[in-house]
């Protein structure tokens, strides 16, 4: 009888512990979660979760370009944009669009991870500036771009895009791919602001997010 009661209390204590840690580490960043950063990392190893659906919502549409330039003659190149036709196909085939949906997830998550990576690099430079003497740090935009590029090109997401680039080249019958170098470019086309939704004069708000070095495939 005593053992049964003890078991019941052990189960309840475990339950309370699990839910306390879950609530603690799922809430937005705050003093407590930052102080318990190591424990949070351990928690996220098995119980990672993110529930900030559409906060903030997308304010732009992505474009992903693959440019294959001849190593011999730089005026000879092939250019492909892969996001817009994919989204068009996805909308057209809805609700039977699972193939397009999967490809969309792969490409959009990759692009998102690259954008987040660039923000992280920029923030890290700003943090260094606040901690150290800014005169010792190269804070020029050029250096920020170079550091960002270097970091992004080491990410699994970038390597995924690189492999996808090889797939696109093959699909579009680009022969002798070793004679070409590939550049990946990510662009954001802004959605007109709500107040200007009916205005025809709204200019396209185009922003280059990332442009890779020339890569050999």
């Amino acid at each position: 009888m005593f053992m049964k009661r003890l078991n019941i209390y052990i189960v309840i204590v475990c339950f309370i512990f699990y839910w306390s840690t879950t609530i603690l580490f799922v809430t937005p960043k705050n003093y407590v979660t930052i102080s318990l950063h190591k424990q949070e990392q351990f928690f996220n190893t098995f119980f990672f979760q993110k529930w900030s659906f559409f906060a903030p919502p997308p304010k732009y549409n992505d474009r992903l370009f693959f440019r294959y330039e001849s190593k011999i003659d730089s005026t000879k190149f092939f250019l492909f944009e892969v996001i817009e036709p994919l989204q068009r196909r996805k909308s057209k085939k809805a609700p039977f669009n699972s193939s397009e949906d999967i490809l969309d997830y792969i490409l959009s998550s990759t692009i998102m991870s690259i954008s987040d990576g660039l923000i992280a690099v920029n923030e890290s430079i700003n943090y260094k500036i606040s901690k150290e003497d800014s005169l010792n740090i190269d804070v020029t935009i050029k250096n920020r771009i170079e550091l960002g590029k270097k970091y992004i090109q080491s990410l699994p997401s970038f390597r995924t895009l690189k492999k996808y680039g090889a797939f696109i080249a093959e699909k579009n019958n680009i022969e002798n791919i070793e004679l070409y170098s590939m550049t990946i470019k990510i662009i954001q086309v802004g959605i007109p602001k709500f107040a200007f939704r009916n205005s025809n004069n709204q200019k396209d708000l185009i922003k280059i997010v990332f442009e890779s070095d020339k890569i050999s495939l």
Binding site: P28, S52, F53, F54, P58, A94, I102, P156, Y164
Partner: protein, 294 residues
């Protein structure tokens, strides 16, 4: 309180249905992903996987799983079948949770909130006794039924709490974002190419009233649900509102399976007695319909 949690399995009616649904959902994923296996899971995949804690714990290299992918996939499919048939009550959902963790690591770029939620539901099913129906080996009532009921109820309530947590966290993030705060967020979502589910989207967002009502309505439902769902008087109203929200997201934003999963989870908030009442009503209706047919 403890007496209530140990006296009966409060999710006895609905949990077997959700178990079957989870299995069908996982089979659907396998079916849809099949044509992408070579680019997502196999050794020549163009996805570079993140580090998998589920494999690291077992000291297995991710490349090994990719090399012997179909062997691993067969085991995963077998676990789903065992779970569907109710064989291996607690060990099967635990192994399935682990296998699902590995599958999700391999396909991490294709995941959405539904997949994240699904992983936790499978984990909670380690504790839930859902084997009174659709099971080859039925649940037994023995000396340990008190502890079994307790585990089952805490597992069931964990599913409910998790849905409440999702709504609450989502709503506080939304309040923090300027376009949600200013009542225009649904315009940006519905007009964006990724979530342009119907030709109607563009027309709907022309209406400022529609955008304002849907933006604030979403926040209101997500914020109220975790606190008011426990009130018996308004429980069904909230379930209907949440149902409408998820149906709207599914249709207008093309997030189908993700939303269907959330809709199905809502059934966990309905008690055994309420389900039995609906079931009896439905049976009566079916019988009278059959009679009318004759």
């Amino acid at each position: 309180m403890i007496e209530k949690l140990t006296s009966e399995n409060r999710f006895k009616f609905y949990s077997p249905y959700l178990r079957v649904f989870i299995c069908l959902y996982l089979f659907k994923d396998i079916f849809i992903m099949w044509e992408f296996n070579h680019i997502i899971y196999e050794s020549n995949s163009f996805l570079i996987p993140e580090i998998s804690p589920y494999l690291n714990f077992l000291k297995i290299d991710i490349a090994f799983i990719r090399d012997y992918f179909y062997l691993f996939y067969s085991t995963y499919i077998l676990l789903i079948i065992l779970f569907l048939l109710g064989i291996g009550k607690r060990i099967t959902p635990f192994l399935l949770f682990w296998a699902l963790g590995i599958i999700q690591t391999l396909s991490w770029l294709t995941l959405n909130g539904g997949d994240n939620m699904l992983k936790f539901i499978v984990l909670y099913y380690v504790f839930i006794d859902s084997y009174s129906k659709f099971s080859l080996i039925k649940s037994k009532q023995n000396g340990n039924s008190k502890i079994s009921n307790l585990l089952s109820n805490l597992g069931g309530y964990s599913i409910c709490f998790h849905l409440c947590l999702v709504y609450f966290i989502s709503s506080i993030h939304k309040i923090h974002a300027d376009v949600w705060f200013n009542g225009v967020a649904t315009y940006y979502i519905l007009i964006s190419e990724r979530f342009n589910g119907t030709p109607l989207n563009a027309q709907l967002v022309e209406s400022g009233l529609f955008v304002t009502v849907t933006t604030y309505g979403t926040i209101l439902i997500e914020l109220a649900f975790p606190f008011l769902i426990w009130n018996k008087q308004i429980k069904f109203l909230l379930i209907i509102l949440a149902l409408c929200l998820h149906l709207g997201i599914a249709i207008f934003m093309m997030l189908y399976d993700f939303q269907i999963l959330f809709i199905v989870i809502l059934g966990f908030f309905i008690t055994n007695r309420e389900w039995e009442y609906f079931s009896n009503k439905l049976n009566k209706f079916m019988r009278s319909y059959k009679l009318r047919l004759i």
